[in-house]
């Protein structure tokens, strides 16, 4: 299936900056449309005796919401990002050490988990840790008319406000939400997160659409490598 030039299937504009934090070993900020996330990577560092692993690095992921205390949702996202980091970093090269990853939400206009994963990937890239491949995450929403929307922007109805009551309803204008993560070498699926109601067919179709769209993110990563390599 090919991507039509329909608005629904276009990715939002991506912008990013690397190495913006002087104290972190690697850092990146990324905006995808209105969503924005910042990530930092430190490592390999000294590991606490409780977490020591003789065979590979211990990866710690901290995910912080924009406001309020981190809850179950954030813990869940930490878990997702952690398993993805363990896949893409060659942790076996850094035994008895710790790699700390922190992601911080900055602006939420939908697809924030995908945005955070992409930010973490860019931060790892900047930190100089050895990787197996890049990872690209794409969000896809299933609206009430059963249309699939690639990387949809949450459009606020009026002037924006920020109360915690409204916060939880941000991605709720879709009946189903998918976040697919692909690797850069074989473009195979390395992570998926879904919520809502959808059929298997819709899931497969969404995966196909996202796989095609992931090319744009990988191209963007390559541009970033090129841009920052020439600066040096």
């Amino acid at each position: 299936m090919e991507i039509d030039e329909d608005r629904n299937n276009k990715m939002r504009a991506i912008a990013s900056e690397l190495n913006i934090l002087t104290r972190s070993d690697g850092s990146a900020i990324i905006t995808q449309g209105g969503s924005c996330c910042i990530a930092s990577v430190n490592g390999p560092l000294e590991v606490s005796p409780a977490n020591i692993d003789m065979n590979k690095a211990y990866v710690e992921v901290i995910y912080r919401p924009k406001c309020g205390l981190p809850g179950v949702n954030e813990r869940y996202k930490e878990k997702i990002v952690k398993s993805l980091c363990e896949t893409c970093i060659i942790t076996q090269l850094y035994p008895r050490t710790q790699i700390t990853v922190q992601a911080q939400e900055m602006d939420d206009h939908g697809g924030l988990l995908a945005c955070a994963i992409n930010a973490v990937n860019l931060a790892i890239m900047n930190s100089g840790l050895e990787m197996k491949f890049h990872m690209a995450a794409i969000h896809c929403g299933l609206d009430s008319d059963d249309n699939l929307n690639i990387d949809p922007e949450y459009v606020p109805k009026a002037n924006l406000t920020f109360s915690r009551i409204q916060r939880s309803s941000r991605s709720q204008n879709f009946k189903g939400n998918f976040t697919f993560v692909f690797d850069s070498t074989k473009k195979s699926l390395i992570g998926v997160n879904t919520d809502g109601k959808f059929t298997i067919q819709q899931y497969n179709e969404a995966q196909k659409l996202c796989k095609d769209a992931s090319r744009k993110i990988f191209d963007f990563y390559r541009e970033m490598v090129k841009k920052y390599a020439t600066v040096l």
Binding site: G26, N42, I90, P95, R96, T97, M131, T185
Partner: protein
């Protein structure tokens, strides 16, 4: 996907093309950012795979490496590093070298040191030393003498200021193409020690001059090689009036 020398490369790409080009050479040396057998796969298992982001480079005749950005130091043998003594134990100084764990520096690894005649170094002092043992499973080990037992340039660093920077800046400063230090030394005499672990130490006869030197070196990070004379000129103008 295959990466080409001189171009940007990303993890997962293979070194295919280059291998063919240099097929007459029997051995290929893989440097930083290239590894073999990282991804288990049937058809490509023999090809080296890129593991870092940056520019693929080749040094004649057959050394390949990736020029990438890094701030955290990963110990490697024969590197010259600047460390801070953090603790003293019975036989060793434990030295922070900006790596994942402190490195061991034996009391005997100094020129003329014996069991009774120990070097006078305190916690918090800076030492310039060489890495003699670097393995991911072991603590790194340092020495302050060369193989003949002479200290050479190694040893304790007194006065001056040490500052942290990216490892790339240290490489840049030490690069033969970079004329920064050469140009600076024409302006004023100073002492400089560059540790490949992302630490640079400078000293001169006045505090203000040392501060200016530090500032100029940090500026060099984002200055191309050709424009080094500009920042040195700026340095020279600011230097006027300082004895």
């Amino acid at each position: 996907m295959a990466a080409c020398v001189g171009n940007s490369c990303i993890p997962g790409e293979t070194l295919q093309e280059e291998r063919q080009e240099s097929s007459d050479i029997r051995k290929v040396v893989l440097g930083d950012g290239l590894r073999c057998n990282i991804v288990a796969s049937s058809e490509e298992h023999s090809l080296p795979v890129i593991t870092k982001n940056g520019i693929l480079r080749r040094r004649k005749p057959n050394i390949y490496y990736v020029d990438s950005y890094q701030k955290r130091y990963i110990p490697s043998k024969n590197d010259s590093v600047i460390g801070i003594v953090t603790t003293k134990t019975l036989d060793f100084f434990w030295v922070d070298i900006n790596a994942s764990e402190p490195a061991a520096l034996s009391y005997l690894a100094f020129e003329g040191a014996t069991k009774k005649n120990r070097p006078e170094i305190n916690v918090g002092d800076l030492v310039f030393c060489k890495v003699v043992l670097a393995h991911p499973d072991l603590e790194p080990e340092l020495v302050c003498v060369d193989s003949t037992g002479k200290k050479g340039n190694l040893g304790q660093l007194n006065d001056g200021i040490m500052f942290s920077c990216s490892i790339n800046l240290v490489r840049k400063v030490l690069n033969e193409k970079c004329r920064l230090l050469h140009l600076l030394s024409k302006e004023t005499p100073f002492e400089l020690v560059a540790g490949i672990n992302g630490r640079i130490w400078v000293n001169s006869n006045s505090l203000r001059k040392t501060i200016l030197l530090r500032d100029t070196i940090l500026k060099a990070e984002h200055t191309p090689y050709e424009e080094m004379s500009n920042i040195v000129n700026d340095f020279a103008t600011e230097l006027t009036g300082i004895p």
